[in-house]
Amino acid sequence: MIAFWKKKGPQLTREDSLGAVVVPNRQLRVERNAEGTVTLYASFNAPAFVERIARWLGAPPRAGEAKVELDEVGSFVWDLCDSQRTVREMVACLADKYKLNRKEAEASLTAFLRSLAGRNLVAIVILKRAEPGDGSGPG
């Protein structure tokens, strides 16, 4: 029912998505093992009702750290998330490094980025396109 009232986000085109940049969550702790693969640690607080019950029971506040272990390819993509490269450039890098077809790389990368964004590990920033005559274009 809640979804019924949920405000719809703006419709994104493929062009918008490929032109977006990926900004990693700065509050994450990032560790790299000897093989070069990345593990992400995100601290979290328990939901408010759990906190209330814990307080009522006299238990200490429930906070913890979620751990996400990336594999080799995931770690490579994580390193590409530098707030500068567009998704389109990341697709090209991934396809080049692992000899993937462009479509294959695009599908895998977008699914992976969606899953990272869903866990609040990254933010995907859609860059505003310069409208003709709005003065925001280059030059």
């Binding site: 389109r88 692992y98 000899k99 077809n101 462009r102 479509k103 294959e104 699914a111």
Partner: protein, 296 residues
């Protein structure tokens, strides 16, 4: 060294395209169908085909298309250029025409002299682009139907040939795995390409991977796996026999054959599987041999 061009072949229609143009949509079968290839920005080439019952001239195909697209009469004078001259492919009657708009499109109406199939290919281009050399090569490379009884297939780095009578039963294009399954009169064949071979085989051997990949195969077979080589590539060969008791009692148990290999230059695993009668097993050898996993 890899070329900037790659072959694309689907349901007997064969063209060469720039490597960056990849399959974006496909429907239909050998009799009637459609495919479209896109580059990173826009659709680039599309083809529609139909098996003609009677002989139809390319001009008639062009007329039919333009009428359907509402580009006949006075409108056509403004927006259509007929009888454009471009390199003609062999064994095919053709007519080239351009429709202007954004994007513009160069069309080739083609009627195969041998199989009578009619196809309409369109290459899209923006007004600020000059794609004439690309179009000349692409249209010039057009071929229709099987040659020497072998039907070539080529897409997403998967390139092989099957006997002409094999029909495509199923296709699946998932990220990391491209798979086509064919059926002949009494046979089944499957061709697959799995990307990221280096990553896939980091924690298991090719033999273990193939065993896992073969599990759950239908109909159920008793399989034996042997490590061998396919050219310069490490490979695993599979051979087995159908488990069906009923078929066994009738002496009609079919056999399963398979070959998987790892191609380092393309960082991919290739799989050829075949299932059919023992006396037809030579078909599997030819099928597995036909794969071209990387450019020499």
């Amino acid at each position: 060294m890899t070329s900037d061009w790659s072959p694309f072949a689907w349901q007997g229609i064969q063209i060469e395209t720039p490597r960056a143009w990849e399959l974006g949509a496909v429907t239909g079968d050998r009799r009637k169908g459609y495919f479209r290839l896109d580059d990173a920005d826009m659709p680039r080439v599309e083809a529609r085909w139909e098996s003609g019952k009677s002989r139809e001239s390319p001009s008639a195909v062009a007329d039919r298309y333009l009428k359907k697209a509402g580009l006949a009469g006075a409108e056509a004078d403004r927006k259509v250029e007929r009888d454009v001259r471009l390199a003609r492919p062999a064994d095919v009657e053709t007519e080239f025409f351009v429709t202007l708009g954004e994007p513009n499109a160069m069309h080739m109406a083609a009627c195969c002299r041998d199989c009578r199939r009619v196809a309409l290919l369109r290459v899209f281009y923006r007004s600020d682009e000059s794609l004439r050399p690309v179009m000349a090569r692409l249209f010039g490379s057009y071929r229709d139907h099987a040659r020497g009884g072998k039907m070539p297939w080529s897409l997403f780095g998967l390139r092989f040939a099957v006997p002409e009578e094999y029909a495509l039963l199923r296709h699946s294009f998932r990220a990391g795995r491209v798979e086509l399954e064919f059926g002949g009169q009494r046979t089944r064949a499957l061709a697959a390409r799995v990307g990221l071979a280096e990553t896939v085989l980091k924690k298991s051997s090719l033999l273990d991977w193939m065993k896992k990949d073969s599990a759950g195969q239908r109909p159920a077979c008793t399989l034996a796996f042997t490590e061998k080589e396919r050219g310069e590539h490490a490979a695993v060969e599979v051979s087995g026999r159908e488990r069906s008791l009923a078929r066994g009692m009738l002496g009609r148990r079919r056999v399963a054959r398979g070959l998987a290999w790892r191609c380092e230059p393309s960082n991919a695993l290739y799989v050829a599987r075949w299932f059919g009668r023992e006396k037809d097993v030579a078909e599997f050898a030819a099928f597995a041999e036909s794969f071209l996993c990387h450019e020499p």
